[in-house]
Assembly symmetry: C2
Homo-oligomer: 241 residues x 2
Amino acid sequence: MPSAGLLVIGNEILSGKIVDTNSPFLAGQLRELGVDLERILVIPDVVDTIAEETRRFSEAYDHVFTSGGIGPTHDDVTMEAIAQAFDRRLLLDDQICARIERTQQEPLNDAMKKMAFMPEGASIIDVSDLWFPVIVLENVHILPGIPQLFEKKFNSIRDRFAGVPIHLKRIFVTRHESEIAEDLHALLREFSELMLGSYPRIGEPDYRVMLTLESRDADYLKRAAEALCARLPSEVILRVE
Amino acid sequence: MPSAGLLVIGNEILSGKIVDTNSPFLAGQLRELGVDLERILVIPDVVDTIAEETRRFSEAYDHVFTSGGIGPTHDDVTMEAIAQAFDRRLLLDDQICARIERTQQEPLNDAMKKMAFMPEGASIIDVSDLWFPVIVLENVHILPGIPQLFEKKFNSIRDRFAGVPIHLKRIFVTRHESEIAEDLHALLREFSELMLGSYPRIGEPDYRVMLTLESRDADYLKRAAEALCARLPSEVILRVE
């Protein structure tokens, strides 16, 4: 299965000033696509750090996504860092300059021009109605930190990342984890390929634990869910979704 | 200044099934305390991965926090992994066994007993009204994934992490980033120690960019904010907080 890593770049997340919504969005999207997201890493706006982690992620995962640090201000250093990661020069792109000028309808100042620099050899993918494209270098997809733009841009390149989707069943139970742990172990002995999660919740009025059963094989999942339901006393199971 | 790293352990976050609220909570808390959070890393429930990243984080940062993977089920492997990270044995702790028995008022089953295993040499910190303590090994603080418990346990050990608090001013401006970027550069030439963030927002009715100015020196911050306000045309500044 294709694997993926997400690098979230921004002091504002590490300092708790802004809540990162791009990670849960991308995690959900990749799950739907059947791509295995293996790491989410939040790092500061520091060129050497971004470059080093980009290199590591690029080697470790099939697809890498970055979020943030591509605007016109001093703290936007992602392009420079990604160029450094792959030992490329950062070059002014005439095509992007022309787009910015068309959008702004005025000559570029230095800040706007900064957004037209990109790593040598990067690909430019047009995004329907946005003037700024998605930049891709090797297997690294460079996305903006602003959630509306992150989501719009990801949606425009989504089809490139098809895996084999994972089927999911949720079973909500009314007992504590420690009371059902042995049944879960037994289930895994019978269905060793099953992805089985157990998530206790506090403050839910009706259930104690949400179990998630997942598989890329819908029939295998169905049989595993039936086996678990047969194993647990019926009054323990609140509902299956 | 003390530094910190947070390891979030859980397939449920990487698969988008559960949104991680522990990271923004801890980021905000550490900021208030003046501890520099340098990394947040989300990893799957895999023993070798958790062990390797725990070792790396423990060497890199003054304080390490882990979230998740300490319950009684098959997917709770954090204790085992942290023991492996520091080459310690995992031992059954009689004191914790006794606590669990007192709380449950029945003999321990295997699942409950699993929660009483901890790495040799770990410290046990009591948390007021919770039966399960916080376990600390070297500089690694092992916290649960359930948000209510994560927050309660962190609050109970919060005083151990005093740094020098950072003062913050927010300035909301009505221009695009590219129109104020040069003013921000000039400000940083004058106040090179200032932590300056620039965060464009889409969909805000009144402002285009939130600027954050931060410093551990309240007077330095005040002078920097005044210098920026003097530099920007007054109609550009919507409000200062």
